[in-house]
Symmetry: C2
Subunit: 262 residues, 2 copies
């Protein structure tokens, strides 16, 4: 084939990219088609070990599974590979924009301070986030205004978390909590429950959704007065309703309306 | 084939159900496989006209498209049909649990006060909600704790919305707003911007995402000081960052960390 010089691409280097993907809560039928397509096109997949395990191996695809708490190193590695022309899928469970890898990639981009990296094709593809997958299994507890709070104090002071719980209660938000409890900070969740009882009232409903959409899923709803810290672990998403949240048959829902100022 | 009486189902009436589905923000490649499967099994689809238009016609499927603001009537109709043995898909855009049809179905179930309906198979299947689809296109503005607020005062007093904006600002939440502005209440969004400037500071970034994932999508990010009410309409999702939200290249993101008490 012939062609004049003008029509030829001026840069024939392979076009790398970073696409930050949400794999949803666990059930493969909850992954979007656009995410599946990107996985099929990728040369490299990076992510936390259990999420990378969800990606089927195939020729031409290199899997880079890393441990938790190395998000910025992992993100930097993804950017480096994209700059070399690789097509890199960064995988998160749930939605990458909700307490997951999307912010870590942009933090890494800022820290790297490499002007050429700002030209890289970086895209975020959403997924079903754990809080909304849990909400769907419970009924519709987030059916009114709500707040999403990461209860881990790895990256922010615990005092700020306490302040947010109080203000969210005062605002009458339903709430979804990620990372409610871990072995390294077993008593903070008990303290969170104490604050919630004060801020929302002890009769407010709280749901514990463990392993949502996975084998062994459990959903438990009790009042804040009945809730104990053992009901949550790191595989649990916790959802607290507002004062109008109620049961109807086996379902729990928050009405769309609010009759007064809360 | 033979079988003894014990093995036969005791009830051979057709098993009806109501499944409340999230179609995502608009792009068909953002619909999950489980939602596609339910649409393929349904005998009836109910929903607001533009969402029902997204469902392909086929023999054996009846489409029931209704106008906006009749959510509880539509939900009651869905429950009635399921009680008659029909397989009813209630369709919402985005996620049905976020300012959409899931709460309306449970409200209708409660209002109907029909004990047999409490036995109906009612399930909610999540979808990609507009706020998180918009967040992905912007970068990662919801990468830290956040609140989701419906700015319509159809179902709650405007004074409660003002209170929630102030408290969410005080908490340092990023915020996502649904239904920011309509013709029937053109000046409330200007008032919301005023409150946000006071509560969050005028240099805080605000993004307007219109027709996310659809043809003609536009994304605009400015500071709260630069924002005007005309930037939003009912097809816009509005996202406000926190004080750490920043630009890096063409992206806007909120860091995962918070260095102090906000």
């Amino acid at each position: 084939m012939t062609g004049n010089l003008k029509d030829r691409p001026t840069d024939t280097a392979p076009k790398g990219w970073v696409k930050i993907l949400g794999l949803g809560p666990g059930d493969e039928s909850m992954v979007t088609a656009q995410v599946q397509e990107v996985i099929a096109e990728a040369t490299d997949v990076v992510g936390y070990i259990p999420y990378v395990k969800r990606i089927p191996e195939r020729p031409g695809l290199t899997l880079h599974a890393t441990d938790n708490r190395v998000e910025v190193e992992r993100a930097t590695h993804a950017l480096e590979m994209a700059a070399q022309g690789k097509r890199v899928a960064v995988v998160s469970s749930g939605d990458p924009g909700v307490f997951a890898m999307a912010s870590a990639v942009f933090e890494a981009l800022e820290l790297a301070d490499q002007p050429s990296w700002l030209e890289l094709d970086i895209q975020v593809l959403p997924g079903i986030t754990a809080m909304l997958a849990a909400s769907a299994r419970i009924g519709a507890p987030m059916g009114h205004d709500f707040a999403a709070i990461n209860l881990s104090d790895n990256l922010k002071p615990w005092s700020l978390i306490e302040k947010r719980l109080r203000l969210a209660g005062e605002a009458g938000f339903a709430m979804g909590f990620y990372n409610p409890r871990s072995k390294s900070r077993p008593h903070q969740f008990a303290r969170a429950l104490e604050i919630l009882r004060e801020a929302c009232g002890g009769e407010t409903l709280i749901s514990f959704a463990r392993d949502v959409s996975k084998p062994g899923e459990t959903i438990t709803t009790v009042t804040l007065n009945e809730a104990t810290e053992e009901m949550a672990d790191m595989r649990t998403v916790v959802i607290v309703g507002n004062k109008d949240t109620r049961r109807i048959g086996p379902h729990v829902y928050t009405p769309r309306y609010a009759r007064d100022e809360g």
